[in-house]
Symmetry: C2
DNA sequence: TGTCAATACGAACGTTCGTTCGGTTCATCG
DNA sequence: CGATGAACCGAACGAACGTTCGTATTGACA
């Protein structure tokens, strides 16, 4: 009955460790952290430099001692987010068995974990990418393309080897990537789902999308109990 | 090589029929249409009333002859989007066979078609929902909840009847809903995929996620050729 | 023909925006 | 001790913001 008064939040998370540790120290880190929270909740245009200054406990002018502009602040966050995503998926692919199904499982689990554990960073990197001027964003777009290509290549190789049963690798890439992306918006500290459980289930969903039977040896088993 | 200069678009569509016909006539319709394009591309806070006025060929002050505020402009668009989505999925469910698998196929195809054919409306209704003040948004949140509940109920009934093989109805709802939602962002006028083809494939993906065999009679067959 | 309501307009209101400027503090180091 | 440079601040800049005001135009109807 209180549905008309509660504000509508853009994502569920509030207090997760929102930045990889290296970037969250000192005044510069405080600014980044405040900008991350405000950009995630209100969007780039919806958060002012004064808001960011207040949230990080310093004056607006001081932000310009650490970042040349609001755009560069966004660029740093979007860059960190994409780099972290690419780092996680790449590492996961290096550490798993070299079969197509196992690689898809590794990729999807890393993908999902990223969007759950660093949901604010993921939301900003995805939803505010359009606000980033190309001359400042630059290399981020390449990283983004590479991450998509990673998954699509896995799927195409599985199709070519007869491991997967589907017609269109691109549609499957979009579907699997998209369902993982959305995790960042609904996963919160109070979710009754564990990150491991979500990653496990989504990996299973991904293999099912690709036409892999539940009896396949690479199909993820039940995760450990609570 | 031109990757550093091209602006990053938020969604791919540009010229689709962006509003249900009834709402797009007269000056009021021109304003709504301009606001839809600008909100979709730049976000609510990123588009100014002057931008909307210029795009619709009238003066800023005149907008206030048709809408009491910028918030109400957004509320109307978000409301139309959610109403249209709920109308499409509800109609689809009424017209299909009453088996769980056929109902999921009908829902997912309507869901996907909505996000492809009215991609701007879908982007605004989803990505800008957080900018809508609760006292102005109001009933939209109920519609949103109902649409999610529609799909989750279908899945739960299929699970109870033994038609689907999975553990968690909510995770499947989130995954299937999320992958369809993302279609609005990448589907464009120049996509080499047809809307029918995408809807067909995503319905198939959905049934696979739910553990339905490819040989099940409700599994969608190949759509008609080109 | 006179009146009313709807639609449109140019100009301006007060506020907030991103950013800059001049100056202060303070630890570091020759 | 004096110099240096980074971090920080209060105050202000011009521009852009959502919105309001007073007025002009118009078509429908008495």
């Amino acid at each position: 009955m209180n549905s008309a008064t509660a504000p509508v939040r853009r994502l569920a998370a509030t207090a997760t460790p929102d930045l990889p540790e290296s970037a969250s120290q000192g005044s510069r880190g405080a600014i980044l952290n405040a900008a991350l929270h405000l950009f995630a909740e209100h969007g780039f245009e919806g958060a002012s430099m004064r808001d960011i200054a207040t949230a990080s406990g310093i004056q607006p002018a001081t932000i310009y001692s650490h970042f040349p502009s609001k755009q560069h602040l966004l660029a740093e966050l979007v860059g960190i987010g994409h780099a972290e995503h690419y780092r996680r998926t790449s590492t996961a692919l290096l550490e798993c068995q070299p079969t197509p199904a196992a690689q898809v499982v590794a990729f999807v689990q890393a993908h999902v974990r990223m969007h759950a554990e660093l949901s604010m960073l993921a939301v900003v990197a995805n939803a505010e990418l359009h606000a980033l001027k190309p001359e400042i964003g630059g290399h981020v777009f390449q990283l983004r393309e590479q991450s998509t290509q990673q998954l699509q290549t896995l799927i195409e190789r599985g199709m070519a080897g007869g491991d997967f049963a589907l017609e269109d690798a691109w549609l499957a890439t979009a579907a699997i990537g998209g369902m993982g992306l959305r995790v960042a918006y609904w996963y919160g500290d109070d979710s009754d789902q564990s990150v491991d459980g979500i990653a496990h289930t989504y990996a299973r969903f991904a293999l099912r999308i690709l036409g892999v039977a539940d009896t396949h040896p690479d199909m993820p088993r039940e995760p450990n109990g609570p």
